[in-house]
Amino acid sequence: MKSPAGGLKWQSEDTMNTHPMRLVTIVGEALARERLKRLLAEEGAQGYTLFAVEGAGAWGSRVADIEEFANIQVEVIVTAAVAERLLARLQRDFFPHFAMIAYETDVRVLRQEKF
């Protein structure tokens, strides 16, 4: 019996083709781009998607005009284990020095074996 909570049925984590996975989203200084990529590779992410964004937060507003002061958002789909390691390392190695936030979302992917 997968889902005792009938009201949650629509979440359908048991759909035929899709598999639960974590989407980790990181938003912060574009200058950290290469370091982030390296972190992702080290922790075993199989890919990533990167957006040029504009933003504002505790460290002030980051207009998207000068790359050196610009923002990026990185989204990466990983297993729960990798997500936890990733978030822990972000917390430890990146947050003290970079304007940055991170969060995770539950998603369901096609082709689990890719991630």
Binding site: E29, A52, A64, D65, I66, E67, H97
Partner: protein, 329 residues
């Protein structure tokens, strides 16, 4: 022609007026925006054009004429962080790592300030050594490297290992976008020589001054958006950001004269010494000295020193150069 007249001419040039227009745009909150690719395109154009022209000039003048003043320029850049450090640390009472970071910015250079100075001399029809862009190219990195070393030494007990950080700093200082484009284009221009210039002058020379004017419109907005941070940095840094450039400018003009430059060339060397980096240095500091507070160095380099230099600084250094060459004759 005296100082006031020089200032009037500079302030009435398209480049500076568009810079002021950019400041106004930010202050009145106009919805004018330069998206990043546009900014990047203008930057790449300006760096490539100035580097290329410099390289052609070096090939015309011969390495023999360039190496000595270029070496002097590099040495000056590398030394500036060493004497600004104690001033910032003990007079300004900045934390050690911030003193190192700010010093790195003032030892390094601002390409746009240099280009505005070339513009200014061109408008005045004052001759100068066209190969002076070579000084620009070699002066960007040394101070960054020295500044990062200073900062790492000052906080030895902490953080990431010295060698790893220095590798990062070297990569950023030597291969960062602006250094790479300047040095690379300089080499390209050097190899091509005048023949290459003839082919491409319609792009690298004809529109150059106008592109600079448009770019300064954007720079005015960028600088003015940080005006609010002036309150955060304190009066000391404001004074520092105006006085130190004048000292460095005068020093470099004298050095330039000793190294055999013309008044125009010496003034350009002065502008380089006086200018503070707000692109390459901040990027290197964020990566190599992330403990340093970016508000301090960005505000002083971008919001104090840069506007001061392009408006009042240029005519000032020009008049100083003319006066010093009179005196020293």
């Amino acid at each position: 022609m005296d100082l006031l007249e020089s200032i009037r001419i500079n302030l009435a040039s398209p480049a500076i007026l568009f810079f002021v227009l950019g400041i106004v745009a930010a202050l009145v909150k106009s919805d004018l925006r330069f998206p990043e690719p546009l900014y990047l395109g203008l930057t790449i154009y300006l760096l490539v054009a100035i580097g290329f022209k410099g390289g052609v000039a070096v090939s015309a003048a011969g390495i023999g004429a360039v190496w000595l003043p270029a070496l002097a320029a590099m040495a000056l850049g590398a030394l500036i962080p060493l004497w600004t450090y104690p001033i910032l640390r003990w007079v300004g009472r900045l934390p050690a790592v911030d003193a190192a970071a700010v010093g790195a910015h003032y030892g390094s250079v601002s390409a746009v300030t240099f280009i505005a100075a070339v513009n200014f001399l061109t408008e005045l029809r004052q001759p100068f050594e066209a190969y002076a862009s070579a000084f620009l190219a070699v002066m960007e990195s040394p101070a960054i490297i020295v500044g990062v070393m200073l900062g790492k030494l000052a906080q030895r007990r902490q953080g990431s290992p010295f060698n790893a950080v220095m590798r990062l700093a070297l990569h950023e200082a030597l291969l960062g976008r602006s250094v790479f484009l300047l040095v690379g284009s300089l080499l390209v221009g050097f190899v091509c020589g005048q023949r290459g210039m003839d082919a491409t002058a319609g792009f690298f020379v004809t529109p150059f001054q106008g592109v600079l004017a448009l770019f300064l419109l954007e720079m005015g907005m960028v600088a003015a958006r940080r005006l609010g941070d002036l309150r955060k940095v304190g009066i000391f840094l404001v004074v520092f950001g105006v006085v130190m450039p004048m000292i460095h400018g005068v020093l470099a003009i004298m050095l330039g004269q000793v190294a055999g430059l013309s008044p125009g060339g010496a003034m350009l060397l002065g502008v380089l010494a006086a200018s503070a980096s707000y692109i390459a240095a901040p990027a290197a500091m964020r990566l190599s000295l992330p403990e340093a507070n970016p508000t301090l160095y960005l505000t002083s380099a971008l919001t104090i020193t840069f506007p001061f230099n392009v408006t009042l600084g240029l005519p000032l250094y020009y008049e100083v150069a003319r006066w010093w060459f009179e005196v020293a004759k």
